[in-house]
Symmetry: C2
Subunit: 239 residues, 2 copies
């Protein structure tokens, strides 16, 4: 079983994702928000590329979430702050989400055999899910535009580390090895590391420092968003 | 002063390199070989893209070095093993070199303000040279084809770490931070790390395990290959 980490969504090649398990990571903040909503009982999250598409895709009784330039989209129920999704009111909800990078990375990966939304919050559950599918894995760091983001790389390194703790004979590509080493170097001060990266600094400036802290907590969730049809639903590892 | 690490030569954008100091790294083995030749007194190393070009560019009395698929090019004086360049016979020599990835990465970076050939062997001298030029820095990991190579990332992380030891207020991009963390995690067993990456495994299989060990020694050289006209000459930090 082979695991490769892809530095940015732009470098993910659709054909390479076929038949594989793809884990999309946008730690700050799209996949952290999705993981939070699913962990708190959301029934389904539908990723939409554009605001117009999100509005059109909203089902009867569904909600809208998302951001542009870090801020909530006017008229939407939620922004992209994971803390907003950590409440009773998401239980049973269908939420259509559109964010600048994360939902695009997911839509680019729709041809994957199986698709998971990974984060630092759900890394261990994500690792178990990916191993249980038994296929080669591509961990796609969403990045920002075409730029690699450290927080996604650290999230990928953590998920890979969790996978290797469960199955030590995985074949890991060079970029994955680098991300795992980077994660292991900062694992005892993950929060500080997130505040040093470009997006951590940007979000703190926008007033979202609590989001950065929230997203820096490893393995606190038991579920993983898993693509089924056009939406993400809860996947819960057995045992 | 800003420092960015570029994951592969393919991702380096020529226009972005203008006016900047560019450090090209191909740890296994092109820039390690160049650094070794220069440290042992070679007068000039001329990077050539193709075998034909190398043969045409060889000056009167000059020598030819290089590899394709890891092996010496037929009729050339040297292969791409740094150990071959660690002798008295390179003193004063002009060597035209062509390798699969390293010399191409250098030729792609010719529009840089200043260009250095970096390696683990000369990381500290390379850091001093780059800082002394006072310009923003791009560290270009050569990679293999379009693929990131761990050994180049670790070399970049080491050079960046040496730069930060001398000047702590550098602005460092996310990818550079990741590479520095990865280097710091493996710094006490750099040789083992090089044997775990794709090229280390490949070279060991081809019978070049000694080269991998040779290239894994940090900061043993006092000089850095520095581009002047069409060739690399010795740059020696003052003090």
């Amino acid at each position: 079983m082979r695991v490769e980490v892809i530095p940015t969504a732009g470098e993910a090649v659709s054909d390479d994702l076929l038949q594989k398990t793809v884990i999309v990571i946008d730690v700050l903040r799209a996949t952290s928000s999705m993981a939070t909503a699913i962990e708190h009982g959301a029934r389904r999250i539908i990723p939409a590329e554009t605001v117009r598409q999100a509005t059109r895709m909203r089902p009867e009784g569904g909600m809208l979430g998302g951001e542009r330039n870090g801020k909530k989209i006017p008229g939407f129920d939620f922004g992209n702050s994971p803390i907003e999704y950590a409440g009773e009111f998401v239980r049973g909800a269908t939420i259509v989400m559109s964010t600048s990078n994360g939902t695009r990375a997911i839509r680019k990966s729709l041809r994957a055999g199986r698709l998971l939304a990974g984060a630092i919050l759900n890394a261990s559950a994500c690792a178990r899910a990916a191993l249980s599918f038994g296929k080669d894995v591509r961990i796609v760091c969403a990045g920002t535009g075409d730029r690699f983001c450290l927080e996604d790389g650290l999230g990928a390194g953590l998920i890979l580390h969790e996978m290797l703790s469960l199955k030590s004979d995985l074949e890991v590509g060079d970029f994955g090895q680098a991300m795992r080493c980077a994660f292991l170097h900062v694992k005892d001060y993950l929060e500080e590391a997130l505040f040093q990266c470009h997006n951590g600094i940007r979000l703190a400036r926008l007033g979202f420092a609590d989001d950065v802290r929230f997203c820096a907590r490893p393995n606190v969730y038991k579920t993983v968003p898993f693509l089924e049809g056009d939406g993400l639903v809860a996947w819960r590892p057995a045992g």
